[in-house]
Amino acid sequence: MQEILFFVTATLCIVSALGVIFNKNVVHSALLLLINFCSLSVFYLMLNAQFLAIVQILVYAGAIVVLFLFVVMLLGADLGEDVSTWLTGWNAFLAALAIIMLTLVGTSVFESMTQGQSGNFTPDDVAKYGQAQMIGITLFTDYILAVQLAAILLLVGIVGVIWLARSDSRDLILAGKALSNKTK
């Protein structure tokens, strides 16, 4: 039962991931990415990581792909602009990078599976207190530095966005004044 589910989901995951790259329509690619994220969350569910599965959908499927679609629409892709070819030098370079990255990640996952150490919490703890609580405790004790660094990174992003939005509106106001002066 589990194996069947795994192979079906894995096929879906890989096919949709390839589709994201090779599809020539931007919006269809984004949709395939959505399918990919959803199948990843099924994997998390099968590994009994419900919290991760839901967060995967909440963050990636619910926010990031919507953002992609939003940008594509704002940039005015009428039914998506078709890309003429995907076989360029730059893409080949990116593919090589991706393969190196994949090897690194695969190796590290394999290493930590065979010789890594297990965490502080047993499955019984997780069942008793809930996964969100366990992850929260781990994040805010052992990995507090990483959390704070991420928080600072996000803060920088927010400040940058506010500055951009502000200066843009300022420019618009200036442009509007210049225009009204001209008409006078």
Binding site: V27, F51, I57, G62, A63, M73
Partner: protein, 363 residues
Amino acid sequence: MLIQYEFIILLIIDAVKILTIGSAIMGAFMGALMVERKLIGRFTGRYGPNRVGPFGLLQPVADGVKMFFKEEIVPGHVDKLVYLIAPALSLTAALLTFGVVPFGRESITLPFVETLLGFPVKLAPWVADINVGVLYLMAIGSLGTYGVVLGGWASNNKYSLLGGLRTSAQMLSYELPVGVAMLSVVLVTGTLRVREIVEFQTQYGGLFWLVFLQPVAFLIFFIGGLAEAGRAPFDLPETENELIGGFITEYGAMKFGLFQAAEFVHAMMLCTLITTIFLGGWNLPFLQQIFIFLPFLQLISPVIYLSIFLAKSILMYCVLIWVRASVPRMRFDQLMGFCWKLLLPIGLANLIITALVLAVLFF
């Protein structure tokens, strides 16, 4: 082998439960449509539909039959696949939310089944009781955006695209205040399980509904929920005077019907969520004490719980109609400003104050 057998039985029970709840909701959609049209009629000094059947009660059936028998037209300039998927996605996302709503308190052990199958079968009044229920609600709520955005894009029409863009911006923005309001609720109850949030409200005689403990969160959740469901006064996705019909412009027949159904199911979902999270769910004040004095009522307690839950939800739905009839639609810039400059700061302040109060209380 026995485990396999039990597993399949449980799977079948779950499937039946999902089908029952799903079709009940689609039936309730008919009722909601009727109630809405009747009440809106009364609010605006009309009778509402009153020709088809007794008191016009068969009007939704007539509408449904009309929808089904209309010609299915797919305009030539659309992106066919996405165009056809969008309404289904919209409705699916709205329906999925009901998966974690508890319609009653405890599981019933089915009588006679143990002798028949050899193991006891418990029937729970919810589909799933997952330990990240609140997050699940947020996640599925955020998926609701897709139907609208994709429908607007695939129609390949300026008005549809504008409507889709507007709606995605609106839904993305209003998810934040709703999430923050949910967070303060989670802080108070200390759990992400929807069932336990309701249990929390049955403590102390069932007097402490979260609407009293977290009135600000309730208001933000209510307003944000209205905006996420695209209900008036936030029904900007389909402003007919500016956008013809927004994302629905190019849709006809049953595809249009599906979008319409999705909107109603979304509104019903909002009502059940408010009932569950803020209005005590299936419980009434002192109901448990009444059960102690009149034990025979305990026998029909699932029915009582379900009817209380439904009564609260329907009342909430009438409030929604009331709001729709009395508040005019907002302008788009007002809408965004309201969300980002008013709701979100208030929600965040509420969250921080809640956290501080809890920290002082439990220090």
